[in-house]
Amino acid sequence: MTGGGTSGSSHPFRALNRAFHGRRRLGVASTLGGPLAWMLVVYIGSLLLLVVSALYRLDPQTQKPSHTFTWANLRAAFDITDPDVRSTVWVLVRTVGVALLVTLLCALIALPVAFFVSKVAWPWIRRGIVVAMLMPLWAGYLVKGYAWRAMVAPSGGKFAASGKGDGGFLDATFGWTPGYGRAAIVVTLVYFWLPYMVLPIYAGLDRMPASLLDAAGDLGARPFRTFRSVIVPLLLPAIAAGSIFTFSLSLGDYIVPQLVNNGKEKFMFGTLINSTLGAPNQPLAAAYTLWPLLIVVLYLLAMKRAGAFENL
């Protein structure tokens, strides 16, 4: 309601109110201005710098980027007529495969879990389970990574020193472990990114009225038919939203593949970029980075079409 008397005129917020009153554009600009400037300068600007740095030539004597331009790095990353480049691209293909597999597994696990939490569980237990699902996100990345490394550790061979050579949790409990390798990478990544998949699906299921399921049942659909024809089509945008996280996070990951892999191959593209950066060869690493950048942009466009952005 209208403010009281003369004492209000010295109030700082009143003055501010008056300045913005009627000037709609000023209000919008000052609200958006800061974040937008940050976004443009820091985020987009640094991406542009990254792309430009791929054109710099690495001085062989000092191994630092010099400011002379060369196409050599882009050629080394994109010229697939060269067999060395083909092996690099093969690593990328493997990585995309892993990212898609992780996304699929996360979706397969997240769907029943989210369905249970949203539709079946009692209300008082619902929030508890949601919090429990999000708990791993509070643990540090390295803590979780090393925990998985310890869990999948295989038992030592017959040449193990006495007292050493016991396997990790999986080997000790089940007598079997995937060991360090590709399977362990996939399993660990699924563990890491599962919460990001569960949440959008849970939110999507929440929005779906239970009456739809009842109606499907009344029309004679068995549970699986209901799932296939009613739930999944409605949930596709939510799944797409969740998949953005699992896909892009898996695509770029470079630490988990080092922790739980077998030490013999650089399985994923992120590890390749990391070791190129450590060579040190920053311009070449920047050139390599353009590949996943391209893939993620394409993936985002595809997910946008699937309606993911309305469900984030």
């Binding site: 030592g156 040449f159 080092q258 450590g278 040190p280």
Partner: protein, 424 residues
Amino acid sequence: MRNTRTVAALAVALAFVAASCGDDSGSTATTAAPETTAAATTTPAPDTTTPAPETTAGAVDYQWTPNADLLAKAEGQVNIVAWAGYAEDGSTDPAYDWVTPFEKLTSCQVNVKTGGTSDEMVQLMQSGEYDGVSASGDATQRLMSGGEVVEIDPAEYSSYADIFDGLKLQPWNSQGGKPYGIPHGRGANLLVYNTEAFSAGAPDSWGAMFEPGGPADGAISVYDSPIYIADAALYLKATKPELGITDPYALDQTQFDAAIALLKQQKAITSQYWGDYTVQQASLENGDVLAGTTWQVIVNLATANGAKIAAVKPKEGATGWSDTWMLSSKAKNPNCMKLWMDWIASPWANSQVAVWFGEAPSNAKSCALDGMAEHCATFHAAEDDYWKDVWYWTTATEACLDGRTDVKCVPYTEWVNAWNTLRS
């Protein structure tokens, strides 16, 4: 319903904050990993003779006094990049600690960043955030050319005069006749093997790691750095003399391609490429690795944990390293760094690190200390002849290091590319 969504939204927002903070620490994970796992390994003692540090009750003669000028301007802390085992503070083994005495004598708090390979050290020094580095010969040239490190003035270092002459003013630690650092010590990369697996006969050749069908087939551990290409070249120098390799760091394209082909063949029987020494140590203890290229310190640590292994310098010779402590051009704590360099090259400290790491000390007076005579003899500290078939890590350049002018040699940047392709 709306409540749950609010809870979920808030939780997601918080989780993003937590996850993004987690990922920040993750970005330094690869270099931080050695420190976290090093702390987790058990505390062993090396099985070489240990020089008795205690002469009288509590009093240790370090044979070093800090330079008064530097001490007066000491900054209170120093940030160094070092090889694992070069700056022990007693946390791995309480009997081996040369950081705490230094901190007491100079009040310079020592913060160590462990580097796993020379490439990593070059990258760390390029960031300008460290005061100095213990650089091997394949890092020093890049650091000197890039202006990352500066010339030193020997007058400021009391230990410099006692360094073996054979290590001073060498191509890898000097430019234009001026010293660029203090020699730390030198050692060879050895062949480690599991004595039970090789019970039929101890290996004496790198062939145990390169030829398939041996007892260690499929359980081999290789050093994960492009510099390892020189080891392959060294093996070819002995087994394929028709290639004409005289210096494993001076490889023309034909010789280089042959080395890469040998490494591809080796990849089929390799089970592990190690950059973090604790990884190889754990595998040696586990029995997953039956032969590999190693450092004496890893053998010492694993043996103390019960691994049945032994190490040998094979008949073809070996690659090795001659390390130099260098001062950063962007050092924020130059005085403490100079004090550290002087300290680590002083008789007592140098002898301690030489025994712990398993290398030859650089200070001649170290060999005169109690219990050091045998160590110096084992590691041939004073015998320049022994080092004739040890090829110190050096940066390969286009101008052939063996003096050939009729061909161009493959420069190190190409070594890096070839290694990355091999490893993917």
